[in-house]
Amino acid sequence: MSPLKIKKGATSHSAYDLRPTFSDKEERHTLAVLVENEPGVLSRVIGLFAGRGYNIDSLTVAEVDHLGHRSRITIVTSGTPQIIVQIKAQLGRIVDVHKVNDLTVEGPSVERELALFKVTGTGNDRIEAIRLADIFRASVVDSTLESFVFEITGTPEKIDAFAELMRPLGLEEIARTGVAALSRGAVA
């Protein structure tokens, strides 16, 4: 027996479906990982993905609760259902991880990503760029006579679509934040 006090509300990592049905098809999942805001915790998570050969499609991290010393890591990953279950279980083993939520399967959720686009050009291309930006509700955050920087928020798919349209119009550079996601409804 440990002589330590177990904190109230401390969870054992048992939030996984231990009895999933498996197929061989790759799926894309968004995982929300609540972690202790300790040095090295991001390195543990990334090291896990690198060491075990899992994919990271997108990763964001920031402190979300200063007093509670918690950060939230949002990871978009892909793999077969068996791999996804394994990723969640492996994340759950990390001592600094408090909770792993699979937003893709645990009910509806919203996903947003912010991106900055640098588009250069003059004449018709420039007019077309600003017209499309308007349709996508992207706003201009910087402008010169031959360039714009657009800011756009939306699902990753919307940003991908915007990038496709901007490419022939003089797209120079993109900076994306990666996905932030939350479950819908009142319950955390």
């Binding site: 440990s2 002589p3 330590l4 006090k5 177990i6 904190k7 401390a10 969870t11 054992s12 990592h13 048992s14 996984y16 231990l18 009895r19 999933p20 498996f22 202790e36 040095p39 090295g40 390195s43 543990r44 090291g47 060491g51 068996q82 279950v85 394994q86 279980a89 492996q90 759950g92 083993r93 001592v95 600094d96 408090h98």
Partner: protein
């Protein structure tokens, strides 16, 4: 109650409070304040090893044989990097150890200071958890939490990196009961699943228990409950290398070890069973062989404390997340309350089948010539020592597999071997750790000559602390296991698998002041073993054995269980085919 003290004193105080009696270590600049505190007390014994790898393996041996966490203390830089193999070994085999490393002072971290290395960075992937402690006030809570994390849930190694200025500075000591933690792994299994398993056991025609190191790690109660369950159901039981001793080798239901070098009857039973009950094993590749042909017709239940072990490589039908002892207790109760039912008639038939497999006598060997067969050496060692409450460690190679096959283990915590990592050089320092934990017990390291040389410097440690560890070296003058694979897989091209320029082991022993014995004749073997047992002190036993003996049975990589190679007369020419050749 809070007390002010230096960080170095906190380290010693926390170890005492955690019940630590032995620390294996090696000093250096970055841990001198801690060594100074160790010098000024008598509660904790420090064992000066001869290499930091030895300290960590010794701590592992201590932990595996006592069930208590092992502790090692090493300096920064090279001290810490030398500890990495031991840490990885402990991680793979789920051994609870706490390793304290010195670090350069906080204000020099990141400056490439003398003997600086990124210890937490280097050890992050080979520990269960690690910490760099930058404030003296946080030192005691971290130390207490470290012991909690190393020993609870799936056990494992932890590292605490302590900068020198933190050791010198004064802070407030926190006692264990004041420390909060959120780490609290689930130990009770789901009752619905447990009931489902009990129901499956009632219906099973060809049931098999497949047990592993998790039973040992769960503590003696788990082995006790397992024995009760086996006696109550009458089902057969096999175990992995790591689980040997959880059920007595002399027990009626024991089939022996399974896996790559497991017994014929155990592997055949695994292949043909209709209900497999995995208790604290992890479907390691040494066990499963070819995955798609692994026990194809069975319903699989799996009891494990680690969710990531469940469904990792083998999909199971009845997953139970929890501690082995807790789950077995509930399982026994459920099964009894449901009326202790089994399908007696079919289980009887199953035993007939198993007994037929046993008749193959897969471990038979012939000791005909004047050259000692390694199997014979171990059979004699078994015969002459089995009455002792004996602790066995091993190195890695053929001798390790023969030891697992020919030695019998009656109780848990008596068998210490490097399973997951397969670390040559593990056995000797581990035997030192075991002997420290059991000063009066008979401790034998079954070694290969090549492995033993990897940490031979620890003979100095054994002498200094008067530890009568017996080093039983099966000397085939070969990297035997490598040679065997080259014979089977690489056209008998024995590339660098000779042990060249071996020392005279008797003289080597004597150079350290230990006793050396050499034996090359089967007729002299018993007397020589008795001489080893009667000597009160470390013994180096150079047992010259047949050089080209192969270790069988063997499931060649890439093959299913029912395609085992059985013995010397087997056709090994095409044993391993292209698909299997890439596997290790």
């Amino acid at each position: 109650m809070t007390k002010a003290m230096t960080g170095a004193k906190m380290v010693v105080q926390a170890l005492i409070d955690q019940g630590v009696d032995t620390v294996f270590g090696y000093p250096g600049g970055a841990v001198l304040p801690i060594y100074d505190e160790i010098f000024q007390q008598n509660s904790i014994k420090h064992v000066l090893v001869r290499h930091e790898q030895g300290a960590v393996h010794a701590a592992e041996g201590y932990a595996r044989s006592t069930g208590k966490p092992g502790v090692a203390l090493v300096t920064s830089g090279p001290g810490a990097t030398n500890a990495v193999t031991g840490l990885t070994d402990a991680l793979m085999d789920s051994i609870p150890i706490v390793v304290l490393t010195g670090q350069v002072p906080t204000f020099m971290i990141g400056s490439d200071a003398f003997q600086e290395c990124d210890t937490v960075g280097i050890t992050r992937p080979c520990t269960k958890h690690n910490w760099l402690v930058k404030e003296t006030d946080k030192l005691a809570p971290t130390l207490h939490e470290a012991f909690h994390i190393a020993t609870s849930g799936r056990p494992g190694p932890v590292v605490i990196d302590i900068p020198k200025d933190v050791q010198f500075a004064t802070g407030t000591y926190t006692e264990a009961r004041q420390v909060e933690t959120h780490y609290n792994p689930q130990v009770k299994g789901d009752m619905e699943m447990i009931t489902e398993l009990a129901a499956a056991m009632e219906k099973a025609k060809r049931p098999l228990f497949y047990t592993g190191g998790g039973v040992i790690n769960s503590g003696p109660a788990a082995s006790q409950l397992l024995r009760e369950l086996i006696a109550a159901t009458g089902f057969p039981i096999t175990s992995t290398l790591m689980g040997l001793g959880c059920y007595p080798a002399s027990g009626d239901n024991w089939l022996g070890m399974l896996g790559m070098h497991g017994l014929y009857e155990a592997n055949m039973a695994m292949h043909d069973c209709d209900l497999m009950i995995n208790i604290g094993a992890r479907f390691d590749d040494r066990i499963t062989g070819r995955l798609d042909a692994f026990s194809p017709g069975s319903t699989k239940a799996h009891i494990d404390i680690d969710a990531s072990s469940i469904n990792k490589v083998i999909k199971v039908d009845i997953p139970i997340l929890g501690d082995v002892a807790h789950v077995l207790e509930d399982l026994l109760n459920v099964w009894k309350s449901r009326g202790r039912k089994t399908d007696k008639e079919n289980v009887q038939k199953w035993w007939h089948q198993i007994n037929d497999w046993k008749k193959v006598d897969c471990l038979a060997f012939k000791q005909e010539t004047k050259v000692i067969k390694p199997q014979y050496a171990l059979a004699r060692l078994e015969e002459l020592t089995k009455k002792h409450d004996r602790y066995i460690t091993t190195e890695v190679g053929q001798h390790q597999m023969w030891a697992a096959q020919y030695l019998g283990f009656e109780d848990p915590n008596r068998w210490m071997t490097s399973g997951g990592l397969g670390t040559m050089g593990y056995g000797f320092p581990a035997s030192i750790g075991v002997q420290m934990g059991h000063p009066d017990a008979l401790v034998i390291n079954v070694a290969g000559e090549a492995s033993w040389l990897m940490n031979m410097q620890e003979l100095g440690t054994a002498m200094q602390y008067n530890l009568p560890v017996k080093q039983f070296i099966l000397n085939n003058e070969r990297l035997g296991m490598v040679r065997q694979w080259q014979e089977l897989l690489h056209g008998e091209r024995y590339s660098s698998s000779w042990s060249e320029s071996l020392p005279d082991f008797v003289k080597l022993a004597e150079a350290f002041g230990a006793k050396g014995i050499i034996c090359d004749n089967p007729d002299d073997l018993d007397d020589a073993i008795m001489e080893m047992l009667h000597h009160d002190g470390p013994v180096l036993f150079d047992c010259l054995v047949e050089k080209h003996e192969n270790c069988f049975p063997m499931i060649p990589s890439g093959k299913p269980h029912n395609e085992m190679i059985l013995g010397e007369n087997a056709d090994t020419a095409n044993a391993i085919q292209a698909g299997g050749a890439v596997m290790v």
